[in-house]
């Protein structure tokens, strides 16, 4: 249902449906989470609530993307 704009706005207004971390815990776990992702491990199982938080918090999501991109650039896996 709905246009992409409406769907995006709904996500922003309502946030993730699952339990999520707060921003401080997200920052505390970010390095471990990204290294697990790059190693092909189950990062979402290791850090419950991280995936949902990254869906609900654009700022933390940007920093997650940047850390992952920086490590990929350096060939970390």
């Amino acid at each position: 249902m709905g246009s992409p704009d409406l769907n995006l706005t709904l996500l922003r207004l309502l946030g993730p449906a699952e339990p999520e971390l707060g921003c401080d815990r997200c920052f505390a776990e970010l390095d471990r989470y990204v290294e697990l992702q790059l190693a092909g491990s189950d990062a979402d199982r290791a850090v419950p609530g991280m995936h949902a938080h990254l869906a609900g918090c654009p700022a933390c999501a940007e920093e997650h993307e940047s850390l992952r991109a920086l490590l990929e650039l350096e060939g970390v896996s």
Binding site: P16, E20, D31, C57
Partner: protein, 225 residues
């Protein structure tokens, strides 16, 4: 039930990775040393963080079209300085669950990202009313879908107006509808990202409850609410 997770005892008690890589051990040893070894390690750290800060500023450059290369680099240098202080201040918080450089990088990326967001909004008034209502027209939608969407938007508007505290309303509208970065709003309201996200989370929970009370079950809506 949607909730903010607190760190569990299991997470807090997680043991340090027993085999920290050699580079990590060297970073920790040298940064905790004294004299020349310490000073050289801090200089290496600052160089590492400057590289990360420049990487982040470069990624966010479209947000600052008015700044030239020198101003952007000054911003990265400031971020590297602040990140270096943060890393040194929080060295004992490092749990050895990642490479030291990965742990340190996140401080530089955070500092740089926050500085870019704040610079992009410098001098701009925060909107006081939702700016995106009415932008959801979909020419391809049929009458039934348009009617459903109108009902949903009406319920959302009503929920925002009646189900939230004034603070929650201000936070939700600014962050979710007007696109104000959370760090910018936190600075203007004299709070921090974590506290503001808690307010956003509470507002979202109330809005969900309002929709549910008005018969919106969430079936077929993006976000899986």
């Amino acid at each position: 039930m949607n909730e903010l997770l607190l760190p569990s005892a299991k997470m807090l008690a997680m043991p340090q990775r027993s085999t920290a890589d050699a580079a990590t051990r060297r970073w920790l040893r040298d940064l905790r040393a004294e004299g020349e070894t310490h000073d050289e390690a801090v200089a290496r750290l600052r160089g590492l963080l400057l590289r990360a800060a420049r990487f982040e500023v470069s990624r966010r450059r479209p947000a600052l079209p008015q700044l030239g290369g020198a101003e952007l680099d000054e911003l990265a240098q400031d971020a590297a300085d602040d990140a270096t202080l943060s890393v040194l201040r929080r060295l004992d918080d490092f749990r050895g669950e990642s490479r030291f450089t990965t742990w340190a990088y996140k401080f530089a990326l955070l500092e740089a990202a926050v500085k870019v967001r704040r610079r992009a909004w410098r001098g701009r008034e925060l909107p006081v009313e939702p700016e995106t209502w009415g932008s959801f027209e979909d020419p391809g939608a049929g009458p039934e879908e348009r009617a459903e969407r109108a009902l949903l938007l009406s319920a959302l508007r009503q929920g925002i107006e009646t189900a939230l505290t004034p603070h929650q309303r201000r936070v939700l509208v600014a962050l979710a509808l007007d696109g104000v970065p959370i760090d910018v709003l936190a600075e203007r309201l004299g709070t921090n990202r974590n506290a503001l996200y808690k307010s956003l989370h509470d507002a979202r929970r109330r809005l969900r409850a309002h929709l549910a009370a008005n018969g919106f079950t969430g079936d077929g809506l993006t976000g899986g609410w």
